[in-house]
Subunit: 327 residues, 2 copies
């Protein structure tokens, strides 16, 4: 039986209202405040947050929906969001969808049931397209991936430009047959493919791309199939960190050396990309900035609900390493 506010009130010889005022920012005389604080310590009282949220109609809760917290991109993002929430004295409800639209729908319902203050959300393409028809009682800030135009605030990077930069870099290093491997669940992968395609075309190179599930296994498999075909590529561009890992493992397993047998470049400056062989050339994303910016947008939106939706585009940084060198 946890002690309640009435027990504290009784112990301090005051009303429950006064205890509540001591806990909050109400006006309380120094005398009563001391007595209440002593009673709180003596009883070990801890306010019931469910009751507080219900009564005050503020959950002080941020929802965060990502595909998988094991993806370092989202791990870092979540820490940035949590640290910002912590500073604002809010908590975070974190949900992993595994890129599964059914789970996304379920978690969106959960967010409504939690009466969250705001949502930070990296939707799959399937769910993003449904977003236009959905109506929430809280603001939504999209991160990493976009949704229907002009409805929600969003923080993304310049995916088109970043992918083009990778292609240009590889082409400058003498690679012309550049195979592109992209995820098939996010707007982000689509934009990266567009950038890849545009840069290839601009240089008179023939685009050669494939979309697969954005995980290491599927990427490794797709690469294997492509290499088994004729007219082998001399470089590969990969659209996220997990897929890049799958490709790198597959190359190693096949006894192929980078960049001697095949140049390689991709997204996400994960720990291992720096430590491995000649190092992997990647686009580093300002992940923590993305998280902080999303929280900033959310707080401004709460302050000014009628403001027009904003899209903040951050820039990735090319980290050139050995893997993109000449064959």
């Amino acid at each position: 039986m946890p002690v309640g506010i009435k027990d504290v009130a009784q112990a301090a010889g005051v009303s429950a209202a006064t205890v509540s005022r001591v806990l909050g920012h109400g006006p309380v005389s120094a005398d009563l405040r001391d007595r209440v604080e002593a009673a709180i310590r003596a009883t070990g009282y801890r306010p019931n947050l469910s009751a507080r949220r219900l009564r005050s109609q503020h959950s002080r809760t941020i929802g965060l929906i990502v595909s998988d917290i094991r993806n370092p991109f989202f791990t870092t993002l979540s820490r940035a969001v949590e640290d910002a929430a912590y500073r604002a004295e809010m908590r975070v409800v974190l949900c992993n969808t595994d890129e599964n639209p059914d789970r996304e729908a379920m978690y969106l319902r959960l967010m409504q049931e939690e009466r969250i203050t705001g949502l930070i959300y990296a939707p799959t393409r399937t769910s993003a397209s449904a977003l236009a028809r959905m109506d929430f009682d809280f603001p939504v800030v999209l991160v990493d991936r976009t949704g229907p135009k002009g409805i929600h605030d969003a923080v993304v990077i310049d995916n088109h430009g970043a992918a083009a930069q990778l292609v240009d870099h590889l082409a400058d290093n003498g690679h012309g047959r550049i195979f592109g491997l992209f995820g098939n669940t996010s707007s982000t992968a689509v934009e990266r493919h567009d950038g890849y395609r545009a840069a290839m075309t601009a240089r008179g190179l023939a685009p050669d791309a494939r979309f697969v599930a954005p995980n290491d296994r599927a990427a490794a498999e797709a690469l294997g199939e492509r290499l088994a075909g004729g007219d082998r590529p001399d470089a590969v561009v990969v659209s996220n960190g997990l897929m890049l890992l799958g490709v790198y493992r597959a190359l190693k397993a096949a006894g192929l050396e980078t960049p001697r047998d095949l140049a390689l470049a991709g997204f996400d400056n994960e720990t291992w990309t720096e430590l491995v062989g000649p190092g992997l050339t990647v686009i580093e994303q300002p992940v923590a900035d993305i998280g902080r910016t999303a929280m900033d947008l959310l707080f401004e939106r709460l302050r000014l609900p009628e403001m027009a939706p904003r899209k903040v585009v951050l820039t990735g940084r090319l980290v050139a390493r050995g893997s993109s060198g000449r064959a």
Copy 2:
């Protein structure tokens, strides 16, 4: 203004109690059930979880307190815990303490305020020792790190044995001057040091250990200082994945090659340890099993509160790679 249970009741022409029964497992006639379900769809009603938790006195919430979700050990642990919670229709409140005892104390208070059903907790040594004097209204299962003997359920690995195994492996490969680098915040690091020390002594080797903050920077620095001293070691054992990363980076930066200049072995089979140079020899922990087992213990404890506390000891697996080979 979100719609409430009364709105649904009115729309369906029934009482709020009946709507509540349809939502839960109450007995409701097929006719009324259909009408209520139609009304829920029509109104887009979502129950308010704060109200439900307050009234039902069940939060259906598991607390999870770890040092840092960016540590892959805890990332994987948290996914295992969340997946198990999801299956049991419970949510998880995740907290990062950054090994800071003040933050731990704050989050322990938060857990009480959330009236959580149970807690899964990897305490720092400072907080663990205070655990004996603390009284919670929910069961606590310790993971990865232990607390005062015989009070809480716990899931750990055989740290003593695993560390000894690393020493034996290095010694079998001809290394005798084995420097040990251990974290200074966890019982786990202490146990690993004990195992290291015991194995060294058993072989007539002189222990040579240091305790530092369990992060990459501090580990790199400590290694640098040790190498600057005389009588250089010919191998290093490191007590966790993040520290191992710091050590590996420092070696690379110093132009030292593994195992030629210095053999290396440690804990946590992280992605990069497999991909790097000759591969790093590590103890792989059954992380997901640790998480699942912790949830199992928690659920059994909820069923049988009076059972004697249990400690489940899982076993790490030695993954021998090139880094521990002969000089």
